[in-house]
Amino acid sequence: MEVVTFLVALGVAAAMAIMLARLFAGPTLYDRVLAMNSFGTKTVLFLLVFSALVGRQDAIDIALLYALINFVATIAILKFFRYRSLEIALAQMSLRKALDGEYEQ
């Protein structure tokens, strides 16, 4: 059973390496954003399998934190490329757009 869990962890690590190759190669920005997001998800999976392998529960907390951080980082990156700024809240941006009449077309 332990060997099976280990093989699963090794498989997840291999999937992480493949995502890393996509992250290095690019070529477009969105390939990299998707690869990074997927890499974060695989890190979460790796930590969960790892905690099952060694029988420690505290790695699950880290996995949860990673899932949250991964989400925030992806949102921040996409917001950066949509609006070229991190300063203004997304809600205010759409509000300003609406006030400026961009949605009237």
């Binding site: 090794l10 954003v33 974060g40 790892f50 880290i62 934190l65 951080i69 991190l86």
Partner: protein, 190 residues
């Protein structure tokens, strides 16, 4: 013993990926890719910290390294170009010699370090074990590091938090909270 043998190969896989990411950060010109790779580097190293049983360090690394600093790096990238300038072809042999000497010194120091889990090592021989013995009875927190940080030296941690909060508040009051419109935007619209 079995799972010790197995998890060590997972550690090797993580370290190999860390090495690959490090080289890619040095080699890549696209700064956006570099920013994302620093986030990946910190995720990987935090996963490695978990496998070394340093869960607290992993928690901090994940929150600061992967979370905040990726966003900060993106903000810094706003102020610079998207691509870095090509590095010159000139090789800095003196710098390489200094780095090689420092690395050799570190490898030379490795045999002097206590063996992992050595009962006579400084970490295990002095007051550390006393905290390990007393924490379950006195504090009741499973994680001893958390017990030391938040309870045994709780006032110290509280003071640190107050200092950091004051510093952040001062910076925000001096530089603004970032919600106002920038002046160049207003000029564009006028």
């Amino acid at each position: 013993m079995m799972d010790n043998d197995l998890t060590q190969y997972l550690d090797y896989a993580l370290i190999a990926m860390l090495l690959a990411v490090g080289f890619a950060i040095v080699r890549l010109r696209n700064l956006f890719a570099v920013v994302m790779l620093t986030g990946v580097y910190s995720l990987l190293s935090a996963a490695w910290f978990v496998s070394l049983d340093a869960v607290d360090v992993a928690f901090t690394e994940a929150a600061v390294g992967a979370g905040i600093s990726t966003v900060l790096m993106l903000g810094a990238m706003l102020l610079t170009a998207r691509e870095s300038e090509p590095a010159g072809q000139k090789r800095h042999w003196a710098a390489l010699a200094v780095v090689a000497a420092a690395g050799a010194a570190l490898f030379f120091a490795i045999p002097d370090m206590p063996v992992y889990g050595d009962p006579n090592s400084p970490a295990n021989a002095y007051v550390g074990m006393d905290y390990m013995d007393r924490t379950p009875n006195e504090i009741g927190v499973p994680n001893v590091v958390t017990a030391v940080l938040a309870s045994y030296r709780g006032y110290d941690t509280f003071g640190e938090t107050v200092v950091i909060f004051t510093a952040a508040l001062g910076v925000m009051l001096l530089l603004g909270f970032g919600t106002g419109r920038r002046e160049d935007e207003e000029e564009d619209e006028a």
